[in-house]
Symmetry: C2
Subunit: 428 residues, 2 copies
Amino acid sequence: MHGVAASGEHNGAVRYVAITAVGPAGDQGLDPDREVREIRVRGALLPGLVNVHCHSPMTLFRGSAENLSLDRWLNDVLWPREAHLTADDVYWGMTLAAAELLCFGVTTTCEAYFFEDAVADAVLDAGSRAVVTPGVLQLPGTGSGDDWWDVRTAQIIDFHARRHGDSGRIEVGFAPHAPYTVPLPVLADIAEAARRLDALFHIHLAETEEECTRFAAEHGDSAPAVLARAGVFDGRVLAAHSIWLSDEDMAVYRRHDVAVAHCPQSNAKLASGVAPLVELLARGIRVGLGTDGPASNNDLDLWEEIRLAAMLARIRQRDATVLPAAAALDLATRGAGLALGRPDLGVLAVGAKADMIAVRLDDPAFVPLLEDAQLIEHLVWSASSRLVTDVWVGGRQVVEAGRCLTVDLDEARRQVEARAHRLMQVGV
Amino acid sequence: MHGVAASGEHNGAVRYVAITAVGPAGDQGLDPDREVREIRVRGALLPGLVNVHCHSPMTLFRGSAENLSLDRWLNDVLWPREAHLTADDVYWGMTLAAAELLCFGVTTTCEAYFFEDAVADAVLDAGSRAVVTPGVLQLPGTGSGDDWWDVRTAQIIDFHARRHGDSGRIEVGFAPHAPYTVPLPVLADIAEAARRLDALFHIHLAETEEECTRFAAEHGDSAPAVLARAGVFDGRVLAAHSIWLSDEDMAVYRRHDVAVAHCPQSNAKLASGVAPLVELLARGIRVGLGTDGPASNNDLDLWEEIRLAAMLARIRQRDATVLPAAAALDLATRGAGLALGRPDLGVLAVGAKADMIAVRLDDPAFVPLLEDAQLIEHLVWSASSRLVTDVWVGGRQVVEAGRCLTVDLDEARRQVEARAHRLMQVGV
């Protein structure tokens, strides 16, 4: 049972990119006509975890704005400092995060941030995989006027042309921040641009009750209803947070196949609330888990989100039978891939990306193991990221025995430390 | 800043039991007339964590009764199986748990379980420390009648006489299960016995709303009110869970100085609810964190409870400013010691037990570190048990570089695995 093997298909310079066979050791029925490599692990082999909502370069701001509501956290601390970021800051913030993510077994993240080339460069250099959705948001000091939005949208269209599909590991989308920070006509324009490119439209939605109350007062209806009417939901949409949704809002999501990035830890830490996970899943709405950025979580450990999602769902529903372990794990693997519109992520299946993680089983977390099905219970309820030993992305090993092979972690820590100190000096 | 040193006082066969000096390296002002040993660590030196509510030997039942409410979990699965436990089962269940706890940096647990000699033996053999509070509960098949309760109480009084203070690492108390499983006169008798011995009276209280509703219907008042009137709260009382408390109940706790064992993860997983942590602390009620047993949590990682306590408090209060990191960490260290009536636990201070843990700081979790105070934020919000490298109990090193020196982990895993399979065969 514990000897699972997978093989990956060779593809020129990028080796072993896809899984061609999965099964117990010796049973793969490898095709002798293809160049394949067999990976054998001690322990359990799982698909790489998929983190569907993240601002990874915010490692630069980790723990620097604590005990604040979302509103104050953004306006008083984060945005004034982010206005002083450089591309190199973002490269190093993303690099440190990528190492952290890979060590936790997270092989894909959906990133919403600025300096998107630096994000993509860092992801590729770290050997990781990302959906890079450049942020659209007027930070303090970043110009203004209607023209700014068009320029920024054009930048992202150009970025898509240059980097979409880069090295087989970068997908490009769009991330206008939120309905309360980006004007509705701009959202509609960006949605149209994304639709033309079949690109992901990634937005923060219904994160705080105050934001929803204010939006409804100004627009006469909820943000989901208004956005749907404006055509914003006609493409591939991923709505992060989605806490304060009415039944009608959820019906809108379902009708437009809007997917949700559920971020339980960020939402709890910032006291934003608990999203209606069970109701979303019951309606067939696609949901994946996100850590959110390391300034609001403050780590990038998706294992914690899996367990927390199950716990908060049980508290919210007052029912200990909801979100069984397999359903919770799905939110960080197969379900997360589907939330991104990527059935090739988060699964160990023929044709899927060869993104895999090995988990040690020689730990008290897995004792006792009375039946095979209990492995999933243990993975969710007693294991943790600390048991991830080895990680492969596109068939390339990037973590071995818990050590990231692709990032000089000491250098990344030094770079982020120094840059964070500089950004801290910015008058706020 | 990161070079902290402590020294421990020598005490015959049990070496270096208490801390005699704390300070930056070189600053300890060691007393040359005492035999002391200096401990130097790379990273941060913290007090050993204190887990105030646990049923550690239930590693035997880890993950074997999932997705059930507390009521069904106890009656349908756990209690019928526990009736078939042997002392050796409990010894090995506790041994595996002790190794797990020590590796997570938990140096003291308050244990409520049966076969108390086996529990104490395992704790001592593992080099750990515990408040052993033998359980009082009529499991299916364990005799009945009024006489049974008296016999059991006498057993615990005898256990106290034999083992209290054993090796300087065992404290003995009493753990009648709950007001809905132990008759009120029996609770009063046990409380009186505990008071005579100045021993801890440890009980499950107000864990589910259903239990509270039923108790109030039968007794005409809440369990805290009824127990207080019966004199049950006149000694040293630790009330585990304490979720469904009215303002009057909290006033009763305050008046009688009842301490609370807050178990957020168990309470969330079993959908029992969220305890009023902020209200309890605001009233000056002593609160410590507990993992609860590994059949309901399912791990023994107190670090997770620290973070979850802060998150759930923020959700419950809808306020991101409550439970700042230092307050959350206190619940697993100094505050947990005080909840047990043990100011010598959970602190690095002269005279305290030399129970200490070293935490690696060369991890992304601690980047950036803009000011010293941020270390506490990072410990709570981005670090985890995986960064605990070394652990000392009573000055004796029990974990080194993440490896438990005192328990043969392979043997403990084999023993628990085999015994769990046997118990699983019990007809339920």
